[in-house]
C-alpha cells in the first residue's frame, strides 16, 4: 500500500519514438565498441611501424659503415672533382642570375602584394608515433577484447529484438 502511494508521487515524462531512441542508443554503444576494437588494431599497426623504422635505422647505419669501408679502400689522392657552377635561377620564370643577391631582389617581384593577416600558420601535429609509450603493450589487452566481444554480442541481440 505504501509502495503504491510512493509510486503515485512520481511524475513521468513521455519519450517520443521510444523504439528509435533505444535503437540509436544501442547503435551508438555498438559503434563505440567497434571503435575500441579498432584502437587495438591501430596500436598494432603503430607498433609494427615503429619496428620497421628501427629496422630502417639499423640498415642506414650499416649502409653508412659500408660507405666508410669503401672510402678507405680508395687511395687518398688530393683530387677534387670540380662540379659545374650552378647559377641561381628563378623558379617562376627560369631566369638565371649571376649572384644570389640578384635572385633575391628579382624574387621580390613575384611576391604577392597583399598578405592576408587572418591566415594562421599551419598546425603541425606532434609525431606521437615514436613515443615509447605506444610500444608498450597493455596487460589486459586480451581480457578487454573478450569483454568487448561479449558486450557487442549482447547489443547485437538487443538490436535484433528491436527489429
Amino acid at each position: 500500500m505504501a509502495k503504491q502511494k510512493e509510486a503515485h508521487d512520481f511524475f513521468y515524462v513521455g519519450v517520443r519514438d521510444p523504439i528509435d531512441v533505444r535503437r540509436s542508443l544501442l547503435e551508438s554503444a555498438r559503434e563505440t565498441i567497434h571503435f575500441m576494437k579498432r584502437y587495438e588494431k591501430l596500436q598494432s599497426v603503430r607498433t609494427e611501424k615503429i619496428q620497421m623504422l628501427l629496422k630502417l635505422d639499423t640498415e642506414v647505419k650499416e649502409l653508412r659503415a659500408l660507405m666508410v669501408k669503401l672510402r678507405k679502400m680508395f687511395p687518398t689522392a688530393k683530387m677534387h672533382t670540380t662540379l659545374p657552377i650552378r647559377k641561381p635561377q628563378c623558379v617562376v620564370c627560369n631566369d638565371s642570375f649571376k649572384t644570389q643577391a640578384l635572385l633575391v631582389q628579382h624574387m621580390k617581384r613575384h611576391e604577392p602584394k597583399k598578405v592576408d593577416k587572418k591566415i594562421k600558420p599551419e598546425f603541425i601535429e606532434p609525431d606521437e608515433n615514436l613515443s615509447p609509450a605506444v610500444v608498450r603493450p597493455s596487460k589486459n589487452k586480451f581480457a578487454n577484447a573478450d569483454e568487448l566481444e561479449d558486450e557487442l554480442a549482447s547489443i547485437e541481440k538487443k538490436l535484433e529484438g528491436l527489429a
Binding site: G14, V15, R16, V21, S24, E31, K49, L63
Partner: protein, 75 residues
Amino acid sequence: MNDMPVFVKVEDYKDALDVMNMIRLKIEDAKKTLEKVHELKSEEETELELWHATIEEVERKIDFIDKTLSEPGAM
C-alpha cells in the same frame, strides 16, 4: 690533375667490388623497409579516417536522442 689515372691494388679492388655489392643489397633492403613503412602509414591513416567517420555517426545518433529527449511526448 683531374686527368691523372688512379690505381687500386688488385686485392683492394676485389674487396671494393664486394663492398659495392653489399651496399647495393643494403640499399634494396632499405628501400623495401621504407616501402613497408609507407604502407603502414597509409593503413594508419585509413584507420584514423574510419574513426572520424564513426565519431560523426555516433554524434548524429546522440543528437537525435538529445533532440527527442528535449521534446517530450504528450500524454
